[in-house]
Amino acid sequence: MTPQGSIRRRLFFQLAGVAAVLSLTFFFVVRSVAERAAEGTQDEILAASATAIADSLRSENGGVTLDLPYSALSMLGSVSEDRVFYRVTADGKTLTGYDDLPLPTGGRQTGQTIVETLTYRGDELRAVSVLRPLGSFSAQQDVVVTVAQTREGLEAISRRITATATAVGGGFFLLATALSLWAARTALAPLERLTGAVTRRGPKDLRPVDAIAPAELVPLVTALNGFMSRLRASLLRTEDFIAEAAHRVRTPLATVRAQAEVTHRKLNKPEHKQAIREMIRAIDESSRSAGQMLDHAMVTFRTDSMDRDALDLSALTRETCSQLVPTADLKDISITTDCGPDPVPFEGDRILLQAALLNILDNAIKYSPADSHISVSLRTREDLILSVADEGRGFDDLDLPRLANRYQRGSNTGDIVGSGLGLTIASDVAGAHGGRLIIAQNPKGVGACVSLVLPH
């Protein structure tokens, strides 16, 4: 199964994304508030300065006199080193100051304070203008006092604030990212614990999972336990079913076979005897196939959940061979085992290994002529090699790779009863132990040599 995305990554990126948005918002808000505050301060000082100048205006004899108060301009210098410009006009005529400083463009209502940002002599200025009516009603003059200041100080303040806001915002983002990473990991820890608990158990272990799970995972664990108990019940049922089916089929077959043997003994005519002989062969064939299919099912089931016991492969080989000695004896076939004097330790599944060896030996006995010899040897090289060599008809060269496939029999099996599962079983068992099955001609001449190669 290919995983689709990762919850941890998604959680982390979402949390980090939120942190990034919050950090940016923080940065912009802090900067704009701070800049507005700094700008407001400059504007207020400029307004105070302009008002102070306006307050010192006097109307004398139809003219306007101005005694420029020094403090009005000096208070501007207290804020920053920025250059200050001013201009006082009466009815559009410049009384004092820079006569090219632009006049305010806004409305011309008296008493009004106009705040503007303008460009003068290549610099950006902040300008505050105060309008004052002066003189008697008949000879009223509109006086405009404009005080302006460059904004370099303000820009410096702005840069400082921006730098601080960037540092604080970035720091906040980094901290939040680290916390997101931690949060994503912590939030997923119960899930990882549960996964670990499920993975650690062997495939044989079908007991319910009892790991402590958070509320969100309880339905999943419940469903998993439900599946496990159903699987266990199903496996048990299958085993029982196979045993029961075998019993139901084999018991009547045994009756028929025994009766057929009795009848065979009593009959005299060769053609009748031959008919019974065919019957018995058919019974043997079906019973053998059933047996091998059961063995194959058992092997398939067990290889998924095999034992890893410490075995003595040498003792196991001798024991298994001795089980088939009476069968071999019937055809005067002798079986010799050469396992060396010492125990051969191996970790594996005793039942599977026995099934493999029994099937190989059974094949060897079946295809060997009377008065022949089967030699079983166990050698320790880089791998453990358990070989069974017979003096039977051997294999046709072409068959070799095909024989270990299910239900495939050699091309020269002739009339010998077989289902074609024996070598498949042996090959599956070898595979389950990390080894392989080698099918070859007997190196000593006629016959076959089948070897289980098992890694140490």
């Binding site: 019993h247 018991t251 009547p252 009756t255 003994r265 018995i280 043997d284 063995d295 058992m298 009377a370």
Partner: protein, 221 residues
């Protein structure tokens, strides 16, 4: 040999009994574990054939009780299961051997023979005729001061003759006794084995005689 056959299927049990009779064995049948215990209490058996699934219990329990009671009568389990795992379990419980149904009677006999040989042989295993002794457990002939060991088929053929000295056995009968149903052999094969027996009997006071057109018989030389 005397068998106790513990099997709940009546038809199978009577067929097996009849088949074993043909080879000259005596068979008592028990269809439950209780009946089997009753039989064992009153008679001695050379061998017990035990089915695993029985109406009044599991054959495995019987096996364990039998071994705990120190009864030395060998038990061969006959079961319809064939999984190797069952086999291993049964041998561990104390069964002497294991054979799956349906069984080949010559294989059953071979297994019985092997089990008895491991135990040191049944008491009446030796048969003699005209000073020649056939020891089935040791698979050898003894005559004069000679001991001649026999291969499996030679032994089985010799047993047929020793069971009824002087009786004529047809080639086809001997063929049935000697070869399994899976083997296709001609009647000439019997000549080979009879020839081998004659060589083994060299120096003994008995011989195997060809009765033209009828078969062979064992007679005093």
């Amino acid at each position: 040999m005397r068998f106790l056959l513990i099997e709940d299927n009546q038809k199978l049990s009577s067929a097996v009994a009849e088949r074993l009779h043909l080879d000259g064995h005596a068979v008592d049948c028990a269809d439950t574990l209780n009946a089997a215990s009753a039989c064992i209490a009153v008679a001695d058996y050379d061998l017990i054939l035990l089915d695993i699934m029985l109406p009044d219990g599991d054959g495995r329990d019987f096996l364990e009780q039998h071994r705990q009671a120190k009864n030395r009568t060998p038990i061969i389990v006959t079961t319809a299961r064939s999984a190797v795992s069952d086999r291993v379990g049964l041998l561990d419980l104390g069964a002497d051997d294991y054979i799956t149904k349906p069984f080949d009677f010559s294989e059953l006999e071979a297994r019985c023979r092997a089990v008895l040989r491991r135990q040191g042989g049944a008491a009446d295993n030796n048969k003699s005729f005209c000073g020649t002794v056939l020891d089935s457990a040791a698979a050898e002939l003894r005559f004069a001061d000679k001991q001649v060991s026999l291969r499996n088929r030679e032994l089985r053929l010799m047993e047929v003759f020793f069971a009824a000295p002087g009786q004529i056995f047809s080639k086809s009968h001997l063929l049935d006794r000697l070869f399994s149903f899976a083997e296709d052999v001609s009647e000439n094969a019997i000549e080979v084995y009879v020839g081998r027996l004659r060589k083994r009997l060299d120096g003994a006071d008995i011989t195997i005689e060809t009765v033209r057109g009828l078969g062979y018989r064992m007679v005093a030389a």
